[in-house]
């Protein structure tokens, strides 16, 4: 790029980062598609394991699909900073005038666009396998849409902490999954609550609140963790 980064407005820098991430992901479609395929395969495992009783599957559906989405989102987290760390561009980002927190925020947003959003889009197809009706599918999609960015933000912290560490992939899962639990409870819970005729506004309010909290604090923690990894 011919434009001097420091002369660009911060928002433009963030937009540039997102564009760059998406472009890189498009170049390596395999890395993006594999978690999606994982998501689909995992969702198919549960009926095979527990039997095809449709009532049971219908009850299980929100939980299974949410857990599958969570695991699939986690698979792609390690990529977030690894290639930048390897070729030294992470150090450049740390030294640039753009606050590292905002860089982390942009990276998490890009991760959502590349990994989270496709999950949201194929979730309904998997939901159909479980017999969810249109309303259930709609709520499932909305909860995933609201929850997936939070997963990317929290996951960024884990990705930054485990940069260049032995066994980073599995360690990342261990670190991040307990922190995902509140999002999981309210995301999957919303579909079930609606099916039981209870209100779901509380679920969505809480998911939104968690997104706001994560959006504010996760970039701070992520940038602190990134600085540790590059020093």
């Amino acid at each position: 790029m011919s434009a001097n980064l420091s002369s660009m407005d911060t928002i433009e820098v963030m937009r540039a980062i997102v564009r760059r991430e998406v472009a890189m992901a498009m170049r390596q479609k395999g890395e993006v598609l594999t978690p999606l395929m994982f998501f689909a395969v995992v969702s198919s495992l549960f009926p095979l394991a527990v039997g095809s009783d449709s009532a049971l599957l219908l009850r299980m559906a929100p939980g299974v699909i949410w857990v599958g989405a969570l695991l699939a989102a986690m698979l792609s987290l390690a990529r977030m900073f690894a290639s930048d760390h390897a070729d030294g561009s992470l150090e450049q980002m740390a030294l640039s005038p753009t606050p590292l927190g905002l860089t982390a925020l942009a990276k998490a947003l890009a991760h959502f666009l590349v990994s989270g959003l496709p999950l949201v889009l194929i979730a309904p197809i998997l939901g159909l396998q479980y017999g969810l009706d249109a309303r259930g599918l709609g709520i499932l999609m909305l909860t995933l849409l609201l929850g997936a960015p939070t997963l990317s933000l929290i996951g960024a912290i884990g990705a930054a902490l485990t940069l260049g560490v032995r066994g980073a992939g599995v360690l990342l899962s261990l670190l991040v999954l307990p922190l995902y639990i509140p999002v999981l409870i309210f995301g999957a819970g919303a579909v079930e609550a609606d099916a039981a005729g209870l209100g779901i506004s509380a679920h969505f309010s809480l998911l939104a609140a968690m997104l706001a909290l994560a959006g504010f604090f996760a970039p701070l923690a992520t940038s602190a963790a990134l600085r540790i990894s590059v020093e």
Partner: protein
Amino acid sequence: MSIRDIHWFRFASPPNFYHLAGRLWPYFAALAAVLTLVGLWIGFFVAPIDAQQGQGYRIIFVHVPTSQMSMLIYLVMAGWAAWGLAFNTRLSGMMAAALAPTGALFAFLSLVTGSLWGKPMWGTWWVWDARLTSELILFFLYLGFMALQASIDDPRRADKACAILAVVGAVNVPIIYFSVYWWNTLHQGASVTLKGASMATPMLVGMLIMVLAFWMYAIAVALLRVRTIILDRERHTEWVKHAME
């Protein structure tokens, strides 16, 4: 020498703290032993039988202390971690690392004793009640902390990374607890508690003494462990070489 004359920050230096810990831990160990004996005596010989749970309720004399301490230790760990991040002191990271295994152990024991309590009372070895489930998640948080520490070779980097993890975890613990509590009230399940209006005074006193006993034990063990960690980390310094003679 009055309290005001002591320069507290000199204990932030590892060799000074090493010697201070060496002098202090026997007192905490002794307190732990005495409090344990008193607590057990009250728990088994003073506290009466429970109306609903018979003699089985006596598990609370280890279940409650281990639960409380596992949570307290995590907060203290996160506190040391935050201090270390703010002031860049080496010893803070070492204290956090010294506390983690004990906290994890207490979390594990809390789950085991909770399970042993649940089986006779509710018929199953595991109950998905809010407190046990939160305790399980806390145990995972401890494991994550220790795994991250073990996988980073450079001790300073490991300390700082674990410090961030501990602070993030501590911020999340209330959120996790609230979510699990809410989740549990929806799926009305059994609860591992002592029902009844109020606990008999001897039971309460026994329980509190046991909590204190476990607290003293935790401090003693942490002081001992941090001494070993200090020796290990500071091995290239002169004072360690002299200390080993």
